[in-house]
Subunit: 360 residues, 2 copies
């Protein structure tokens, strides 16, 4: 078997050997004390990291399950999807596929969702749910979460669902202080687990709203999660290896300290930005709204992106990403999320320096 490249793509990311080791802890029965202890062991740490007193539901599905589930739990009238890239755009499509009425604010890929755009759209009336992707992974844009939440709160009776898939644990997100109704994320981004699990934090108000929906199903039903959480358990058979891995990562994060962790991501991100500027590339995201966990690089120098990605892999066994969806090749992406340090990020950038002369 060939040695697989180290991942510097924006999720999944490189997984630490300690995390894999934890995932290989003995499988346990999920309807007994052993699992209850495991479940309970991750709650205080996750709550601290997310700034919430609410439970953190452990959802055996990738984040799209949580994104669809949130719509099915909360939208009784009409959802407003805030769209600025591949994942946020798709959420609109998924809302429709759930049989919901949906409308959107759409900005160009690479642009930012602004509070004014949200305010103007909500003023049209009829909405009871808003979805926002905090860090749009396809474009490297970090939307102004707090300001958008404030704008939405000028309107009544609106549930706010925020996807923090590629920002959670890398930048400060205080769920209770923000007053968002659902925060969801995957684990294969800054949390640096392999994919296969997502997290959901659901407000009391969202639980109330969910009661009005009679077709919200079972697998992603917030009330099933809440009921089972009271017993330190999950509605359905959980991905036990991932929860073991999550426990290991939570302990790692708390030992690191969240301020240090945020600073580490900011530093590796800044280092990557230096590389971008040094070669005359530009960030795809507008200044001040760049993601802190990945860098989406505008291919303004018109290099052969697929060739570059391939050469970096062939020569250095590192995997970077050649852009997503309709900006594939027009952009490329470097991740700094998860376990990367200034040293390991520099290793990536040195490798890129080595290869790029052939492409300029």
């Amino acid at each position: 078997m060939s040695t697989k490249p180290k991942l510097f793509s924006p999720g999944p990311v490189d997984v630490a050997p300690e995390t894999y080791a934890a995932m290989c802890s003995p499988t346990i029965g999920h309807r007994g004390k052993d699992f209850e202890e495991l479940y309970a062991s991750v709650q205080p740490g996750l709550q601290e990291i997310a700034g919430t007193t609410r439970p953190v539901y452990l959802n055996t599905a990738s984040a799209w399950g949580a994104m669809e589930g949130s719509i099915r739990n909360l939208t009784r009238k009409k959802v407003l999807n805030l769209c600025c890239g591949a994942f946020s755009d798709k959420w609109y499509d998924v809302s429709l596929r759930c049989g919901k009425e949906a409308d959107k604010v759409q900005v160009e890929w690479g642009e930012v969702i602004t509070p004014d755009l949200v305010r103007a759209k909500l003023a049209e009336g009829g909405f009871d749910t808003v979805t926002l992707v905090h860090n749009e992974t396809s474009t490297g844009v970090l939307n102004p979460l707090a300001d958008i939440v404030k704008a939405i709160r000028e309107f009544d009776d609106i549930m706010i669902i925020v996807d923090t898939v590629s920002s959670f644990s890398a930048v400060p997100i205080n769920v209770d202080e923000l007053g968002i109704d659902v925060m969801l994320c995957g684990v294969q981004k800054a949390l640096a687990l392999p994919p296969g699990l997502s997290l959901m934090i659901v407000s009391e108000a969202a639980l109330e709203r969910a009661k009005e929906l009679t077709d919200r199903g079972y697998y992603f039903d917030f009330h099933e999660f809440e009921k089972n959480h009271a017993k330190n358990n999950t509605p359905s058979t959980p991905a036990i290896p991932h929860i073991y891995g999550l426990r290991e990562r939570v302990e790692f994060m708390l030992a690191e300290g969240m301020e240090n962790r945020f600073a580490r991501h900011a530093a590796t991100n800044a280092l990557t930005h230096e590389w971008v500027a040094k070669h005359g590339f530009k960030n795809f995201a507008p200044a001040g709204y760049e993601s802190k966990t990945l860098t989406c690089i505008d291919n303004n120098l018109e290099i052969d992106v697929p060739g570059f990605v391939k050469a970096v892999r062939a020569k250095h066994n590192l995997l970077i990403n050649g852009g997503y969806g309709k900006v594939k090749g027009l952009t490329f992406r470097l991740s700094n999320m998860g376990n990367e340090t200034l040293e390991t990020q520099q290793e990536l950038l040195d490798a890129l320096d080595d290869v790029i002369p052939d492409f300029l």
Copy 2:
């Protein structure tokens, strides 16, 4: 950390070290060649095991996700849920929670779904979907799948969804020959992986039916799975460790040979039944309809089941199950599914022999 007991509960079951080792293979990007190769590598083996030329969708969710998803994909009028235990009963409840019209055939727990019962109910008319749990894990009943399918096929326009969660790969199930529309299963039962993934096989007819449903969503949408399968991929970010583990288990099964595998399960099951008879217990399932992967034992001797389960764990570090739901304590369950051999199953029974005199 205390050493966790070996699992003889009917799922999750004991996982082989080789499977864990495979699960720790390097995480790969899921939108590229590395993942496509992994995905493609498991298809022929799984198709052979399931007796189908259709794709085997890899669904990052436990089986309840697939069970709910099947309802959302297929039921446009009314579903008939065949109910004979905790899991099949719950499927009726889940159907209602999806906002579907549903009715049921309900037999007592421990009884079998008969073709005549199904026929009589379907004759009332109005149904377009039937759900069957092949091996009802809560009661240890193996329903007569082929005969039930034949009975259903006397009626037009009905989609047949079969949950083979705790029978797949342990008893012969030839999906194409049976002519069922959806076969779904988890991986933490006879496949002997840790939980976190389920499999779905969906007929062409089911894909046609699904087109009529406009609110089937995204995460479990059959058409998304079909479309992505054509690219050796999955709609959402997949549980990569589980798919590596699945590849290892598929190779194991093909090397073992399916006939040998079925024979092994039959033999370990028969050995367990001998233990039941020897002590004057009875099977909870009627003669001829006993599960081949687990034994649900009628506690006709009225032993202290929780005490017995606890003592077996304390003295031998083995975990058996003290019954599920409303037959908890009135039954207890011993699994023989997955990797158990006559030798390892005998180790369990010897341990039970050692402990049970204190409880009779």
